[in-house]
Amino acid sequence: MIHSPLPQTDYMASGHVGCPGCGATVAMKFALRALGEKTMLVIPACCWAIIAGSHPQTSLKVPVLHTAFATAGAAASGLRAALDMRGDTETTVVAWAGDGGTFDIGFQALSGAVERNEDFIYVCYDNEAYMNTGVQRSSSTPFGTRTTTTPGTNWKHTRKKNIVEAFAAHRIPYAATASIAYPEDMIRKFQRARELKGGSRFLHVYATCPTGWRVPSDQCIKIARLAVKTRAFPLYEVTDGVRYTLNHDAEPPLPVRDYLSVQGRFKHLTDDDYGEIQAMVDEDWELLKRKVALAPEEARA
C-alpha cells in the first residue's frame, strides 16, 4: 500500500495549534520521521514553542526543553553536556528555532556554540519573519517583503542574511538547506546530520507561513517548491565549511517572479523590483555554483 522508501513513524501528534497549512509543522513532521525516537529538542520562543503544546499539553512524542528566546545554542550545549554526564551518547540533541531566534536574537549563543563545535543539530525553520508575534521583519526577511514593521512603501529594502554561509564560515562539519517540498532530500539530510555525531550541524529549513505571507493554506508545499525551482532557495550542503554540493539543479530555472507574484507579501512589487530581485537571485546562484565547482569531489557520508 505504501511504496515509499521514507521512514513512516510520526513523532508528532494531531491536535496541535499550528495554523492550517503551517509549513513549520510539516518541517517538524519530516525531521522527526528522520531522527526517530532518540531525540531531545530544545525550543526557544517562536511559533513552535506554542505548537509543541502549552503546559500541560505536548504535541511531540519526544522530550522538549523550552528555553528563552536568545538561548537555543547555549541550552542545547548544556543539554548535550548533561546527557554525556549520564552516559547517554545515543540521544541526538536538536535545537529547533525560528529565523528570528537564529538569524537575530540567538545568533550570538549559536555562534559561540558552533565555534566550540558542540555536538548537536541546530535547525532553523525559516518562515522569514517573527511570525508568532505578528509578522515583524527579521534579518531573514527577503528583499521586497512587506511585514508589519516594513509596511507600505517601506517594504524591506535590504537583503536576506545568508545564514548557511555564516555557519560555513565557522567551518562546522555540516551545514545544509532543506525544503518541505522535497521530503526525500530533507529526510536524507536529517539522517545524515544525525549520523555525523560529535560536532555542530546546522540545517536551514524552508517553511512556508501561509498566515504571514498571505497565501492560501493549500499552497504551502507548492510555494516551497517554487522557491527551489526559481533558485530563490537553493538546496545544497556544505561539509567542513568548504565542500559544497548542489542537490537540485533547478534547470532551467523558473523566473523568480513566478514565486513572488503568488504571495500577498510581495503584491506591491513592480516590474523593476522583480528585475532587481532576479538579479540578486542570479548573483547568489552564480556564487553558489562557483563554490560547488571548487569542490566537485565531495564524498557522500
Binding site: 494531531s14 513532521k29 503544546g53 505536548t58 504535541s59 493549500d218
Partner: protein, 579 residues
C-alpha cells in the same frame, strides 16, 4: 532543579472544529476512459502496467473489452487524442500498451479470472436465470455480445454467414494490420467460454420467424457487407474493394501489376490501396475532398503515402470507359466551399466543368457499405423500440421476442471498438430485460456510463469498485504537474516502407517489456489513487492514516487543503463544510 513537565497529548484538542472546507478521497474519470468507446479504465490499466502487474492490467481490460490484442492494433484510439499528457509532451501510447498486454496474455495463455469482477455473486448468477440468445454475425459486435452475455450467465449461439468467424476483423482488415493468429486467439477465448459459433449459417427471415422456439432473444450484428454503388456510367467495370480485401484474406493474393484507381477516402480505401502496393500494383487514391477531410485514420493515410500510394484529392469520378486493355476514368474537379458537414469535413462542389482523365488498368470502389439484406435494417419509429447510443432493442412483433440491432447497423461511428461497445450495450440491455424487465433498462444502463460520454462500463454494471468513481472528467489543469517530468513517448519498431511493400507482414511491432513499463509510467493515472501517499506525507495535522485504505481523521483535519493540492492526479476533492 525542578521544571514543569507536559505529558498530556494535544490529541485532546479536536482541531477539526476549525475547518470550513473538508477534503475527501474522490476518484474521478480520466479523459481517455471517457473517449474510449468501450470505456476502458485506462488510468488504472496503465497504473498496473507501470507496476509490472500485467495479468491484473489485462483482467482490467477484459472487464470492458474482450479484444485487447485486436483493438490495440486496429482501434483508432480516440483515447490518445484527449490524453492529458499530450498537453505536457505527448500522449501516452495507450494502444501500444493495450496490444503489448493483449499479446502477452495470448503468449502466456492468461486465463479469465473467476470471479471476474471481484464480484462474488457471479457464480450464483451464472447458475440461475440464464437465458439463451441467438446472435447473427460473428464480427466484433456479435462476438462481444456473446462474450458479455456469457459472462452474465447466458448461453449464446452465433450464426455466421462466412466460412470463419471474425467479420470485418477476419475479412476486411489486411494481415499487415491484424495477423490472423492474434484474431484466432482472442476468438477462441470466447469459444472456450462455451459460446457456439455456427459458420456458413446466416440468420434468415425464416430463422427469425422460428427463433422463439429455441431462444429468448436475438442480437443482430451482421455488419455492412454490401458496398455502396457509385451510380456512374461504366460502373460494371468497377471492382469491389471490400470483396477484394476478402479475397486476399481468403488466400488469393496473385500479383496483377499495372496501375489501379481506388475510389474513396475511408479506411477500406486505404486498406485496398495498401494491399495493392503489396501485390505489385501502383494505386492512386481518388478522393472527392482534401486529404485532411479523409475519414481514414491519419496514421494509416501517412503509412499508405510512405508506401508509395498516390493521392488525388478533390476529384469525383463521373464515368468509366474502355475495357481490358486499360480504362479511362473521367474525373470531375471539385472545389471546397465554406460549408462543413456535420462531422466537420469541408463540403465540396464541382469546380465548373473542369474534368480530367486518368488511365488505369483497374478501378476499385471503396466508398462505403450497407447491410447485406434490407430486413437487417432496424425499422424506424416502430412502437416497442428502445433506441440506445449503440444499439436498438425492439420487442419484435412478428418474432415475438426481444431483438437487438447492433454493430454497424446502429453504431454512430463505424469502428471496431464501437461495434464492441454495441455488443456490450446489448448484453447489458438484454440482461436487464431478462432480470428486471425492459422498463428498467434506461435507468440501469444510465448508471453505468463512464464520464459524460456514451461508453458503458460492465464493471459498474456488476457493482465493481469502479462504481464509486466520480463521472467528472479530470482536466489537465487539475493535475499537479510538479510531480511529472517530461519523458519521451516510447516508439515500437516499424517495418521500413521498402520492406512493407513486398509483403503482408505486420507493419507495426510491439513494445518490449521495459518499453511497456516505461511508457505506462508516463501515464498520469488521471483521477485515480496510485498510493503515492503524498496526502498522508504532507498533512501538517497527521490527520491521514491507513486502515485498510487511506482515511482522514476529521476530528483533527483543519481543512488546509494541502492533501488535495499535492495529490498529483486529482483523486481528492475539497468541499465546503455543510454548516
Amino acid at each position: 532543579m525542578r521544571i514543569s513537565r507536559s505529558n498530556v497529548s494535544t490529541e485532546i484538542n479536536k482541531t477539526g472544529s476549525w475547518r470550513f472546507v473538508r477534503p475527501g478521497y474522490d476518484e474521478k474519470t480520466a479523459p481517455c476512459s471517457n473517449a474510449c468507446p468501450v470505456g476502458q479504465d485506462i488510468a488504472r490499466i496503465e497504473m498496473l502496467m507501470g507496476q509490472g502487474m500485467f495479468p491484473a492490467a489485462w483482467e482490467t481490460i477484459l472487464r470492458e473489452n474482450p479484444f485487447p490484442a485486436v483493438c490495440g492494433r486496429v482501434c483508432f484510439h480516440p483515447c490518445e487524442r484527449v490524453c492529458n499528457r499530450g498537453e505536457m509532451d505527448s500522449a501516452v501510447g495507450i494502444h501500444h500498451l493495450e496490444r503489448f498486454v493483449g499479446d502477452l496474455a495470448i503468449e502466456r495463455a492468461y486465463a479469465l479470472p473467476h470471479p471476474f469482477y471481484g464480484d462474488e455473486a457471479e457464480t450464483d448468477r451464472r447458475a440461475t436465470g440464464g437465458k439463451t440468445v441467438a446472435i447473427g454475425g460473428a464480427g466484433p459486435a456479435g462476438l462481444a455480445a456473446a462474450y458479455f452475455l456469457a459472462r452474465l450467465g447466458h448461453t449464446c449461439d452465433i450464426y455466421e454467414a462466412d466460412s470463419e468467424p471474425g467479420g470485418v476483423l477476419r475479412w476486411g482488415i489486411p494481415w499487415y494490420r491484424l495477423p490472423e493468429d492474434v484474431l484466432k486467439a482472442e476468438i477462441s477465448r470466447i469459444v472456450d467460454m462455451g459460446v457456439k459459433i455456427y459458420c456458413q449459417k446466416p440468420i434468415t427471415r425464416d430463422f427469425m420467424a422460428r427463433a422463439r422456439e429455441q431462444y429468448d432473444a436475438v442480437f443482430l450484428g451482421c455488419g455492412y457487407g454490401r458496398s455502396l454503388p457509385l451510380w456512374i456510367p461504366g460502373e460494371e467495370k468497377v471492382l469491389n474493394g471490400l470483396a477484394y480485401l476478402h479475397d486476399i484474406r481468403g488466400g488469393d493474393n496473385t500479383c496483377t501489376g499495372g496501375r489501379a484507381a481506388v475510389i474513396g477516402g475511408g479506411n477500406t480505401a486505404i486498406d485496398v490501396a495498401r494491399s495493392l502496393t503489396r501485390l505489385g500494383v501502383e494505386p492512386i487514391l481518388v478522393y472527392r475532398r482534401r486529404r485532411q477531410d479523409m475519414p481514414a485514420f491519419d496514421h494509416e493515410v501517412e503509412m499508405a503515402l510512405a508506401e508509395g500510394v498516390q493521392l488525388m484529392p478533390l476529384v469525383a469520378p463521373v464515368r468509366i470507359d474502355g475495357g481490358d486493355g486499360g480504362m479511362v476514368l473521367t474525373l470531375q474537379r471539385m472545389r471546397t466551399t465554406r460549408m462543413e458537414t456535420a462531422g466537420g469535413r469541408c463540403r465540396v462542389e464541382p469546380d465548373g466543368d473542369r474534368t480530367e482523365t486518368l488511365m488505369v488498368d483497374q478501378v476499385y470502389s471503396a466508398i462505403g457499405a450497407e447491410p447485406g439484406e434490407n430486413w437487417l435494417f432496424p425499422p424506424e419509429h416502430q412502437p416497442g423500440q428502445l433506441r440506445m447510443s449503440h444499439c436498438i432493442l425492439w420487442e419484435h412483433p412478428d418474432a415475438r421476442l426481444p431483438v437487438v440491432f447492433g454493430g454497424d447497423l446502429t453504431t454512430p461511428v463505424k469502428s471496431v471498438t464501437d461495434a464492441v461497445a454495441s455488443g456490450k450495450q446489448a448484453a447489458m440491455a438484454l440482461d436487464t430485460r431478462f432480470r428486471h424487465g425492459g422498463k428498467a433498462i434506461p435507468e440501469r444502463l444510465g448508471a453505468c456510463r463512464v464520464g459524460d460520454g456514451t461508453a458503458l462500463s460492465m464493471e459498474i454494471y456488476l457493482s465493481g469498485r469502479r462504481k464509486t468513481r466520480n463521472p467528472a472528467i479530470v482536466p489537465f489543469s487539475a493535475l499537479n504537474t510538479d510531480y511529472f517530468a517530461p519523458a519521451e513517448r516510447q516508439a515500437p519498431p516499424v517495418l521500413s516502407p521498402e520492406t512493407r511493400c513486398g509483403s503482408f507482414e505486420e507493419v507495426e511491432g510491439a513494445y518490449g517489456r521495459d518499453a511497456a513499463v516505461q511508457e505506462a509510467s508516463r501515464c498520469f493515472n488521471c483521477g485515480i489513487c496510485n498510493d503515492c501517499d503524498n496526502c498522508r506525507l504532507f498533512c501538517p495535522e497527521v490527520a491521514i492514516y491507513i486502515d485498510g485504505t487511506r482515511c482522514i481523521n476529521l476530528d483533527y483535519c483543519k481543512g488546509c487543503g494541502i492533501c488535495v493540492v499535492e495529490c498529483p492526479r486529482n483523486a481528492m476533492t475539497l468541499e465546503e463544510e455543510a454548516s
